[in-house]
Amino acid sequence: MNEKDAFAELSSIRDLMERSSKFISLSGLSGILAGMYALAGAGWAYLLLKHHSWFNLGSAYEKEPDILMQLFLIALAVLILSVVTSYWLTMRKAKSRQENVWNPVSKRMLTAIAIPMITGGLFMGILLLKDVYTPIASASLIFYGLALVAGSQYTYDDVKWLGIGEIILGLLALLLPGYGLIFWAIGFGILHIIYGAIMHYKYER
């Protein structure tokens, strides 16, 4: 064995270790699309709430359960659209890379994500039941951010930074109650678009 062989062997070992332990079929485009859905949703929600001043948004929900229901449906629609889109794009990318989507790494990644996501979902459900609306925007950003950080150990490091960004925005949203919609638009809209663009630029060109 000469130096070149040893070098080739080492780099193929490194490549395989990386490939077998990271799920890299995530698509940057799905981040951009999810961000756009979120911005559209936030725009729609803004139209619903237009006649309320930003400072009174919290009380607006309580006075008008109808608006609350509509906001909930918008958020749900954005969530479902985003999940379906990223699932579809991820499947497509995995297929083109001849990678099996359902491999040990993607399973571990989903388990890591699921725990903070389900906890967050239940947490927000309980807040709704108790008629406490103000921290909901903050909680959704924080739990989503924690889920991303937890899942990021099985994929690109960039996902961790997206998660940390969401957590910071969530904390700010808690600090500035009443501006939830703006933080939602920044966190789920603008951050996703920036993240998606970076991913696309870095790994898909």
Binding site: M1, N2, E3, A6, F7, E9, L10, S12, I13, L16, M17, E18, R19, S20, S21, N100, N103, P104, V105
Partner: protein
């Protein structure tokens, strides 16, 4: 030169065995079918190399069932990890020596 070659593990002379060890070194565990998909080799081929590595006690095997489907998980042993690290070190030394 000869000295560093002695550190090369005979078990890793085969490329596929080295690949299996690389995957198991980077993960807490991996199952048979996923390994097969990843390395793109046949059942029989993978099984024979796994047997060889098991004989060296470099990997451990856990058999279980998921529903009715058998699920066989492989993991690297302490001995395997040490051998794998030694092999990587030997490769690195070889590169350094020739520089």
């Amino acid at each position: 030169m000869k000295d560093s070659l002695e550190h090369f593990d005979k078990a890793f002379e085969n490329r596929i065995r080295l690949q299996i060890m690389s995957v198991l070194a980077a993960n807490i565990g991996y199952d048979f079918n996923s390994l097969k998909d990843l390395l793109q080799i046949t059942d029989g081929n993978l099984a024979s190399h796994i047997k060889a590595l098991e004989k060296e006690e470099y990997i451990s095997i856990t058999k279980s069932f998921i529903g009715k489907k058998p699920n066989t998980q492989y993991a690297i042993t302490k001995k395997g990890k040490t051998a794998f690290k030694k092999h990587l070190q030997a490769l690195e030394n070889l590169i350094k020596q020739q520089k």
